[in-house]
């Protein structure tokens, strides 16, 4: 029942821009294939073509020996090809059950069979380990839960070929583990799986073979057992990527406390959180999804209601009622949701980049030239890969959007910068760039707070890591306590 797929010289152009330059390779049935490539390499585009969401500009798609042209995703689904999108593809106003069956509603006569849909939805939610009422509106879910709904939606389609485009980018370790168990079951049932991720350890552990794309071209394929993480990274980037993390610089004891927070409470999320961070220090925040890390900082920055006993910036007590107060005090918070909160997808890159500093740079009219110059500089400095600097942010690949968002927030020249999941969905090369940037920011004397679900990242970067669980600070771990085991133990309350 598995599907065999062959890409024959697939070309894809968006207007004048060619993003796939004739891709040739085959997917053998019944295997788990990891698809690797830098941000913007064309992985998502190729898979959208396979699943019928995009039409190729040239080349053929051969499935089980027959050439196919899909008019829509429905045609691909009829053959059992199902794609879990990298971007959420859910109607926010509808419930989970409605989303899962959107376009495939079960009916009894003319009317919807809501009971059956609810029941089946519950079953699929259970399979992906999401314990939420299927009648919940998707708008009321958090990012990770939406991701699980996306997976449940794919399960409801009875896939023979399942494509997962970075499904774990926003999942915590526990949920990720459940997902891999699910993948193993599907594989045992004979489902072919294409798995896209920038988490190379997952690639190593859960794929049978890897295929590497670079700049819209097929580079190589290899059995997973024959390549290690290092080799995968090098194949993707096309050059040697080693030493992801630089050595940590010492924070001198007399360094000023840049931010001190005491008794921060965000109703419903966080209780009595205390922490401080010094100039030049990198402070990590660890915790499971739902631990309240994001909410803590959204509260701190005036993005949701909060109380705090005391907030000090550089020793001075301050009040923060709105994000602008925070900005004026030299604080910056880069959200984990870069599409919904980080970037104006329909505005140009230069507009996005300069959005927070317009007032500072205006004299009194906008500095349009300066904005363009700043964009050129940011493109070079942050290694943003793009084809047309006049395009809107939507046209950038995910990793490049992240770099642009970082550049945007850094233009405010913050004293304390909070990065929420800064490397989510970012390729290894870019990850390394971002890590180097974080080091540089600290070296410049800024305080950096990194919220991350990737423990390796926290261990490699941070001087100290705060662990949150259920909205409370569970531990503050110093340099000598930073191991994956301790972090997990504190995050899951199995530390005794």
């Amino acid at each position: 029942m598995s599907l065999a797929v062959r890409f024959q010289h697939i070309v894809k152009e968006f207007g004048p821009v060619r993003v796939l330059h004739g891709v040739d390779f085959a997917l053998e049935p019944g295997r788990v294939v990891g698809l690797l490539g830098e941000n913007g390499a064309g992985k998502s585009t190729l898979m959208k073509i396979l699943a019928g969401y995009e039409r190729p500009s040239g080349g053929q798609l051969v499935i089980d020996g027959a050439e196919r042209r899909f008019a829509s995703a429905r045609d691909a689904e009829a053959l059992g090809i199902v794609l879990i999108h990298q971007e959420f593809n859910l109607a926010e106003h509808l419930t989970i059950a409605q989303n899962i069956f959107l376009g495939h509603e079960r009916t009894r006569g003319w009317l919807l069979d809501r009971a059956a849909m609810r029941q089946q939805a519950s079953r699929h939610l259970e399979q992906v380990g999401l314990d939420v009422d299927p009648d919940t509106r998707v708008a009321d879910l958090i990012v990770a839960e939406k991701q699980l709904v996306e997976i449940a939606k794919a399960l409801a389609r009875n896939a023979r070929l399942l494509i997962m485009d970075e499904p774990t980018a926003s999942l915590s370790p526990g949920e990720t583990a459940k997902l891999f168990a699910l993948m193993a079951r599907l594989k045992a049932d004979g489902v072919t799986i294409v798995y896209i991720s920038h988490k190379l350890d997952e690639m190593e552990a859960h794929t049978d073979e890897v295929v590497v794309l670079r700049d819209g071209k097929f580079v190589t394929r290899a059995a997973t057992k024959d390549v290690n993480r290092q080799r995968m990274a090098n194949l993707m980037v096309g050059r040697d990527v080693s030493d992801m993390f630089q050595p940590k610089r010492l924070v001198t004891a007399d360094a000023q406390v840049a931010l001190r927070v005491a008794g921060l409470t965000v109703p419903g999320w966080v209780q009595d959180l205390d922490f401080d961070v010094r100039a030049g220090e990198i402070l990590g925040f660890a915790g499971l999804v739902g631990a309240g890390r994001t909410e803590a900082f959204e509260g701190l920055f005036g993005l949701r209601p909060k109380r705090a006993d005391r907030i000090e910036v550089a020793g001075q007590p301050v009040r923060i009622r709105a994000p602008r107060d925070a900005m004026l005090h030299g604080l910056a918070y880069l959200s984990e949701d870069r599409k919904g909160k980080g970037l104006h997808l329909d505005m140009t890159l230069a507009q996005n980049l300069t959005m927070m500093t317009l007032e500072r740079d205006a004299h009194p009219w906008l500095d349009v030239k300066g904005g363009r110059a700043a964009l050129d500089a940011a493109i070079a400095d942050f290694g943003i890969r793009l084809r047309d600097p006049q395009c809107t942010a939507r046209a950038l690949s995910g990793g490049n959007q992240q770099k642009l968002a970082l550049a945007k927030y850094l233009r405010t020249n913050p004293r304390v910068i909070v990065l929420d999941e800064p490397t989510r969905g970012v390729d290894v090369g870019a990850k390394r760039d971002i890590y180097a940037l974080i080091h540089r920011l600290a070296a410049e004397g800024r305080a950096v707070i990194v919220i991350s679900s990737e423990l390796i990242e926290l261990i490699g970067l941070a001087h100290r890591v705060a662990v949150l669980r259920g909205g409370r600070k569970q531990a503050m771990l110093g340099p000598d306590q930073l191991t994956e085991e301790t972090l997990i133990a504190h995050a899951t309350d199995t530390h005794h």
Partner: protein
């Protein structure tokens, strides 16, 4: 993009139940406002609370209410229709002209047959106008606001031209036959109220219990997602306008026997009333979600305000519109928690 909710209960066991309760109370804003208004009305004037007055109010709500039910679909799908008032007027005009013409022929059909033909004609025109709107919006890719602003002028101009600027009046004999459609009661309840109830129930079922209704909501919520789910977006949008066109026709079919005439002022500002009913009822103009029952309550609420103002003389007549404005804003304020 929907903003993430600001608060959320932490206990996993409790929250679905609470959430469901909230979903149900959320829609109560207009209902509470309506109840308050009715209590106030009954206190101010005992005649307000009589069955006859209630039926009068419901009967006159029927036109706008039926149109508003159709409008709910269009708005939920992310569209809008400004032309409904002139569309109703033009359909009324066409109906009257056609029926009169049929009645004057040498071997004219029976009055009943003519009325039935007239009704069929009205439905056909409503459907055709709806399809035209849908076509311009989907294939022409023109904003619905502009399309229907344009047809608003066109429909009314054609009616004015048909009627030479005066009134088109239904033949007296036909009026006699047709009149009961508006004036008759069944089980004590006037026919327009029955029809209104029927349309409302049908609308609610279609919106919430059929795949089409789901698709309408999905398109309004996120058109891209709907496209990805292989929903025939253009077809569904077209159908929402068609549905609205038919609702306008049904409203007109009830309207014509009331006064038996159409003039260039027929239906003026009905679009604003219908849209206001929809929005007061809790449907967002941004699309994505809506409640037919909210719309029905909204339409009744707006009628009741007018009725109360007529039944009392506390306020200067000049200020009637101000009272309506204040009530509309207040009701919207009461239910603003949602969004």
């Amino acid at each position: 993009m929907q903003p993430t909710p600001t608060t959320k209960p932490l206990t996993p066991a409790a929250w679905p139940a609470v959430a469901r309760l909230l979903t149900h109370t959320k829609g109560l804003g207009p209902v509470i406002a309506l109840v308050l208004l009715c209590v106030a009305g009954a206190l101010m004037n005992p005649d307000f609370a009589t069955f006859d007055n209630l039926m009068n109010v419901l009967t006159r709500t029927a036109f706008i209410g039926i149109i508003a039910v159709g409008m709910t679909f269009v708005i939920v799908s992310g569209g809008i229709d400004l032309s409904v008032g002139s569309m109703a007027a033009l359909i009324a005009g066409v109906m009257i002209v056609a029926m009169n013409a049929l009645a004057t022929g040498a071997n004219a059909p029976s009055a009943l047959a003519i009325v039935v033909l007239g009704i069929a004609l009205a439905l056909a025109f409503g459907a055709a106008f709806g399809i035209a709107h849908g076509f311009l919006v989907t294939h022409g890719r023109i904003e619905p606001f502009i399309v229907t602003l344009g047809t608003l002028g066109i429909f009314r101009a054609v009616l004015t031209w048909l009627s030479d600027g005066g009134a088109l009046t239904l033949d007296f004999n036909l009026s006699e036959t047709y009149g009961p459609v508006y004036y008759q009661s069944v089980l004590g309840v006037p026919i327009p109220v029955w029809v209104f109830a029927l349309v409302a129930v049908a609308g609610a079922v279609i919106l919430n219990r059929t795949p089409f209704g789901q698709h309408v909501q999905a398109i309004g919520s996120n058109e891209q997602v709907a496209r990805y789910a292989a929903i025939r977006v253009d077809r569904v949008k077209m159908l929402t306008y068609l549905l609205l066109g038919v609702c306008v026709a049904v409203a007109t079919i009830l309207y014509v026997p009331r006064l038996g005439s159409a003039t260039p002022t027929t239906g003026i500002l009905w679009e604003l009333e219908a849209i206001a009913a929809v929005v007061v009822g809790g449907t967002s103009l941004k699309g994505g979600a809506g409640r037919i029952m909210g719309t029905v309550v909204g339409a009744i609420l707006l009628s009741v305000i007018g009725n109360l103002l007529n039944l009392t003389s506390i306020i200067s007549v000049y200020l009637n519109a101000a009272v309506q404005g204040v009530v509309i804003i207040t009701v919207a304020y009461l239910q603003r928690g949602r969004r």
